[in-house]
Amino acid sequence: MLAAIGVSSIEELFARQIPEAVRLRRALALPEGMPEQDVYAHLRELAQRNVSCEAELSFLGAGMYDHYVPALIDMLMERSEFLTPYTPYQPEISQGGLQVMFEYQTAISELTALPVANASVYEGPSAAAAAAYLAKLHNGRSRLVVSAGMHPHTIETLRTHAHGYGMEVVEVPLVAGRTDLEAWTEAIDEDTSAALFAQPNFYGAVEDAPALAAAAKASKAGAPRARAHARAGSPSSNGSAAPSTNPGAPVVVCQVDPLTLGILRPPGECGVDVAVGEGQPLGNRLDFGGPSFGMFAAREEYLRRMPGRIAGETVDVDGRRGFVLTLQTREQHIRREKATSNICTAQALNALGGVVYLAWLGRRGIVELGELLLARTHYARESLTAIDGIEALHSQPAIREFAVRLDGDVAAVKARCARAGVNPGVDIQALTGREEDRGGLLVALTEQRTRRDIDRLAEALGAAVAAEREAVAV
């Protein structure tokens, strides 16, 4: 091969191209390579030092949930044809992946009752940040009004990104577990670009989504002069579309838990403009937090400002139905600094898991699963709050997750439960840092947690709280 190239050594290939001063003249300080079986043993040993949802009775949630992932999803996601291609730049040989995107978009559109969905973004919180950027491109305003009921990671992610594109984040507090409607209405002014809330919210409470959306649409931002703030020539491809309802209203963004949408009124029927969400509950593994996928759906008027890939239907030269990546003039590889987003690689394989899961659940299954979670959550809530030293943090409707307050240090109580093989949930204050969340525990259910498991949780948590109270009293 060297002779064909016309060099005498591989070293010559590098020496002729890389200046000597920036060459690394020592070996990388990394361990030596290992044969496959040794690498497997090492990774297995690391895995064994993690307590997974298989190794304890887990009620952890707060954004990611231990749902059952059907075996057929593993099989399909590991198929070479889905696992190993790049983004479908050559549609003639990528019809499988493009059709999956098209089906996925259809499923997300159905689930959210919004007409357009993209082929996925990274994950939940950054999807909310992408929605905020869409709002910025849409109306050029600088303020994001955010319900304190959004996931703390979402709020932090919004702040990080908003600092980049020059927006401020204003937080609206909760009252009785839900977004304070009065404060929400008050906070939305003529500079408000987007108003964002979560459904159900971080504390498990089902928000009055129609009321929040309606209040945002009818807010002060609706005043006609607000349009003057819209920046002319904002970087968009085809953007003249003004909101169809109230021209001054902010973009209403709802972060949804997709698995609740079998029974919960969908964002599209609540007056929401953009729905985003963490896709993990739909057939994706926990994977210690990723990879999963972010959902992104919107009203038609936002189509040309959507981030990410979008698959569209067309025909080939012989008239056969086919699919392509479409509306690419939004995208970074065409539009460069004027793109609607910088996203390139998204989460196609995880979105495949999502659409296969939704087909597996099916039209009836997603409703049945929602009802089951609703009933078991009610049962778990009643069981736990009947225990001395445990009270409800709020009494709003809850579908699959609810918040309680423990009389005792949450970390200490959790440590006691761990000895009984139970992980009772997420320490709320550890995530939010809010003083009013002291003692808060977020308990999540999936269809994998039966009544017997809930009874075991009540027993373990009750004993742990009692023991902790006793220990403190002594």
Binding site: L46, F288, G289, G322
Partner: protein
Amino acid sequence: MSGAQPETPLQRQRARTIFQKGAPGRRAFTCPALDVPAADPEELLPAQLRRREPPRLPEVSEPEIVRHYVSISKRNFDLDSGFYPLGSCTMKHNPRLHERAAALPGHARLHPLQDPARAQGALELMWRLQEALGEIAGLPHVSLQPSAGSHGELAGVLLTRAYHESRGESRTKVLTPDTAHGTNPATVTMAGLQVVKLATDEHGGIDLDDLRAKADGEVACLMLTNPNTLGVFDPNIEEIAAVVHGAGATLYYDGANLNAVMGFSRPGDMGFDIVHFNLHKSFTQPHGGGGPGSGPIAVSERIAPFLPVPLVVRREDGVFALEHDRPASIGRLRGFHGNYGCFVRAYAYICSLGADGLKDASENAVLNANYLLARLREAGVAEHLPLAYGELCMHEFVLSGGPMKRELKLKTLDLAKRLLDLGFHPPTVYFPLLVEEALMVEPTETETRETLDDFARAIAEILREAAQEGPEIAQNAPYSTPVRRLDEVAAAKRPVIRQAL
């Protein structure tokens, strides 16, 4: 060859979505029985918050789902089946060990909010990966959090802003060469800064005079890929770093092309302050048809205080922890800790190869690219498809299809489409933008010499076919794929982006 040819079995199989299959009442999922007392549904969830009609999801059985998705999977070309020399994408073999290791329940079913004390294996893995990436980059401080390359870029530009703001400076411009990936300028805009383009010199590197003229006190950063998207390692990199640092700006390394230099040269040693990695390129995370990816960043000492939170640290007692308390941090870029499943695979790869193996990988990537380039020249291809810049290349090279278009009436697009009939994934086409009819070829280290020979022959064959039998054959290609050329204009004009129900 024409449309009059008989249809292949795959072509005959017209596309029908999962929503067009099944029948009412059909299903795969069995819901667990209600094992708790039934309650009043209205009390649990009031009607005005309830969904009235179920979402119109498919109604299909498990065998139907499996057959549907396995069938459409066969309408994809994939790396396991054939050569995929897609420039800038590093389509190297994806070892199956990585899938097996990532699927272990201790990794796959680990909840991200598990107490750190009960996730020590995962945190150790992340810490070890941080250490390894830091060593490879020559920049010791690493955050694994960004979700993909473009997300890493955004982190990098936000870090640059934070760095300058901490010094009381407000710098608004970011320099990017005209050869840069589209994600670079798009990122700059999202981070609230302005793009200033740099010209390319006749050798394919940055035009130093242009750089000197533009590197003023308003410049926050220069974003550079090295080797760049022309496959050229910038010979003036030391001078570039000196000019940029002299202007008080930072130097950002787009790690898309890291596969060329692992163990040979480190961005940190070249003078870069911030690097992003693409674990789905250099470190074999399978690309999944468009993700997942993972875009960790490594930074120098002066940038370290601003890294995203949380960071994985090893405490003095040897325990691994998530560090949140970093007051100067730019904050969080996403939920939880990043794409851990990708970390498992990338870490497995680094363990498998070790220091020598990583260097071998880059060595063979560069050898394969130069060998393929030589074979193309030997086969007479260079006459119509000359190398755009330089004599040798790093891990990829860019050919110009300009002469081919003029002499053979064959556009790069036609060549690419004809390659599909011959069983190859085409190279990246029409990028970088400054090369006429560009064809960007990256063979990677995991391809054999025989494959490279076959590919060179295929290109030569297409050119010969066009010269002898006319360009129409390639202009109407492909013929054998599940669908033929698709009407992309119509798709964008009247977008149909979901199945009508």
